[in-house]
């Protein structure tokens, strides 16, 4: 049995080391491998059921073993990254600006880490975590907030004047990171505040504003030391701006950065004559803003930033 696990782990590790997946985050690699196994089941089965691997086993058995090993490997990396990121890099001092009495950062970080681990163990949550995880890994909030603060346009106005986040640029970056981490947490809580395993993901874009309050409450129970505004920002990032024009600026920005990062490929080879990846993404998002519920003005500004910076 252990030999089978070793073979499965060896096979999965071999696939993960494939150059085609170089530069991708663990969750991206996991999605790629899951898709690869699904798409190539017929071609893989003769080899994987041979005496070299798992003789006499059904595809369902082999697949389940491979996926189990894949999850273990991803979990290990993910846990390590999240632990390092939340405990060592995340600065929760921004919460002071959200009217929350002084609470130990450690307590908040422990709650957040626990919640993130739970999210990673729900099927849909894990998938939804990809965009947030990538956005954090590739430091998208840092690079865009830097530019947003320099250009002093619509987004900065929305953040400072409308949402009244009169915090420093650095603190805002950390608030966005927390918002990104909380975005997939909606899959843990159903509309009535109870735990859910239903596919909220398929309802993206039609996540009703009325449900948001209940989900925010449900999450607040899990994150008792967290300011509601931070939780709400993450939850609202799942709501279409067209359905609710009161979605917070951080919520709208979270949605855009997470969606951008979802299939983000850093250092990708750009064909001659092609528009740069992020500029392309914002350009397409601009045309699809109604469908995905994006804030068109925010897209316009981010598009300009990406164009000017050659991103």
């Amino acid at each position: 049995m252990s030999s089978e696990k070793e073979k499965a782990e060896g096979f999965v590790r071999h696939l993960l080391e494939n150059p085609a997946l170089r530069n991708q985050t663990p969750l991206q690699k996991e999605e790629q491998l899951l898709a690869f196994l699904e798409l190539n089941a017929r071609a893989l089965y003769p080899t994987l059921s041979s005496s070299r691997f798992f003789p006499g086993k059904s595809w369902a058995h082999i697949r389940s073993m491979l996926i189990s090993e894949l999850f273990k490997i991803t979990d290990f990396t993910l846990k390590g990254y999240m632990n390092r990121f939340i405990v060592e890099q995340l600065d929760m001092s921004f919460t002071a600006f959200l009217g929350l009495p002084r609470v130990s950062q450690e307590e908040m970080k422990t709650e957040l880490l626990k919640l993130t681990v739970q999210v990673a163990h729900t099927g849909e949550g894990r998938r939804a975590l990809t965009g947030s995880f990538n956005a954090l890994s590739y430091r998208l909030s840092e690079k865009y907030i830097e530019q947003i603060y320099q250009t002093r346009n619509y987004i900065r106005f929305e953040l400072e004047k409308v949402q009244r986040l009169r915090m420093s640029k650095e603190e805002l970056k950390h608030m966005l990171k927390v918002s990104l981490l909380l975005r997939p947490a909606v899959y843990l809580v159903s509309g009535d505040g109870r735990e859910t395993s239903s596919s909220v993901r398929r309802q993206r874009g039609s996540f009703q504003p009325s449900v948001a309050d209940k989900v925010t409450q449900g999450l607040a129970e899990r994150l008792p030391h967290f300011p509601e505004a931070a939780i709400r920002s993450g939850v609202e990032s799942n709501i279409s701006f067209l359905d609710n024009s009161r979605v917070s600026a951080t919520g709208r920005l979270t949605l855009l950065l997470s969606s951008l990062a979802n299939e983000y490929k850093p250092n990708m080879q750009i064909d001659r004559g092609a528009v740069s990846p992020e500029k392309s993404w914002f350009s397409v998002a601009r045309k699809n803003y109604r469908y995905f519920g994006y804030d068109i003005k925010m897209i316009d500004e981010l598009f300009k930033i990406a164009a000017e910076q050659g991103w």
Partner: protein, 372 residues
């Protein structure tokens, strides 16, 4: 099936041909430069012999390729579609009408003096054929694949076609002009005027005043009467080192033998030939280095990006549309691709939740094909 050994042999042969093509172009240039620069006959002879060697090599190459294609019943395909016509025009006629006769004269030497006039006329026509060597540049177009901007098969084909046409038309025009020029009732050219003047002056010679005659006639080299040399412009060693069998002509007028230098006429022709050579090389370079990138940037690159966008699920880059080309059909299509297709693709992907993986079975062939 081509074995590894055959493959290596073929690639060695192709490499050799490409090297020979570059060398023959240099040789063609040097042959004219040597005349203009007044290089010694020994050097020019080496260049002529090497030219003959190249023509022989390319004739064999053409025959091997042609018969090899014929054995596979692909002779027509080879001649028409695989640049076989270039191989033909730049090998057999050159060997038969240019370097072949030249070699005959070089090795038969002084014994052919009397026949030189006829040979010279053949060589005049052959000079035009010699330009066909430049056609070989087209054969090395594939070398330019490695240059920036010419990665696209379509770009390569179009650039190769237009380059072939330009070179072919120029060469054909030069060839035709040199063929029909002698038949045209035109005013006499510089060479003809010189020849007539020479004849008139030489006819007046009565045995005295040879030095004055030589001063009046710069092309006059030697005057002989029977075995006696009445006048010689240079020492014999100079003639041996600087004059080849094509460089002078012999005329017998009255009792006198006159040897006249043909070098001024030959230098004129070499300058003309070099000018055509440089013109064609520049045309080819402009087409390869300017037109080719232009074609790639404005046609094949946008098409390549759109093709990837249609074929690859995860490819979502837009086509950059330069404002000055936005009315081009390709960019109109690209605008539609950017505006309609990519957003639709994104929405469809979201709706269908279609599976996509950057991994392919080909990339893990090592583990799939491992034998126990």
């Amino acid at each position: 099936m081509v074995t590894v050994e055959q493959g290596k042999m073929r690639s060695f042969f192709e490499g050799l041909v490409v090297l020979a093509i570059f060398l023959v172009l240099i040789q063609t240039f040097l042959e004219d430069a040597a005349l203009i620069g007044g290089w010694s006959w020994d050097v020019r002879k080496v260049l002529l012999i090497s030219g003959f060697g190249f023509d022989l090599f390319f004739t064999f190459e053409f025959l091997i390729r042609f018969f090899s294609a014929a054995l596979r019943r692909e002779a027509g395909e080879y001649l028409l579609h695989r640049k076989g016509w270039i191989d033909l025009f730049a090998s057999v006629p050159l060997l038969l009408f240019h370097s072949g006769p030249l070699m005959a004269v070089v090795f038969l030497g002084g014994g052919t003096f009397s026949g030189l006039g006829g040979v010279f006329n053949v060589l005049k026509v052959a000079k035009a054929i010699r330009v066909a060597r430049i056609l070989r540049l087209l054969r090395v177009l594939k070398v330019f694949k490695k240059l920036k901007y010419t990665g696209s098969v379509m770009a390569q084909r179009h650039v190769a076609l237009i380059t072939s046409l330009v070179v072919m038309v120029t060469v054909a025009a030069l060839f035709l002009v040199s063929l029909i020029q002698p038949t045209l009732p035109a005013a006499p050219g510089r060479a003809e005027v010189l020849e007539t003047t020479e004849t008139r002056v030489l006819q007046r010679f009565q045995g005295t005043g040879s030095r004055q005659l030589a001063e009046a006639l710069p092309t006059l080299l030697i005057i002989k009467e029977g075995q006696e040399t009445l006048y010689s412009r240079y020492e014999n060693s100079y003639y041996r080192s600087m004059f080849g069998p094509f460089d002078y002509q012999y005329r017998h007028i009255g009792t006198y033998d006159f040897f006249l230098s043909l070098k001024p006429t030959l230098v004129d022709r070499a300058e003309q030939s070099l000018a055509f050579f440089v013109l064609i090389v520049l045309l080819v370079l402009v087409l390869l280095l300017y037109y080719s990138p232009h074609f790639a940037l404005t046609i094949s690159d946008p098409v390549h990006i759109m093709r990837r966008g249609f074929a690859e699920n995860g490819y979502k880059l837009e086509v950059e549309i330069p404002s000055r080309y936005r009315d081009d059909e390709v960019y109109c299509l690209a605008a539609l691709y950017n505006r309609e297709y990519l957003p639709l693709k994104e929405r469809m992907k979201h709706q269908e939740d279609r599976l996509h993986s950057d991994l392919s079975l080909d990339t893990i062939g090592d583990i799939l094909n491992d034998e126990e």
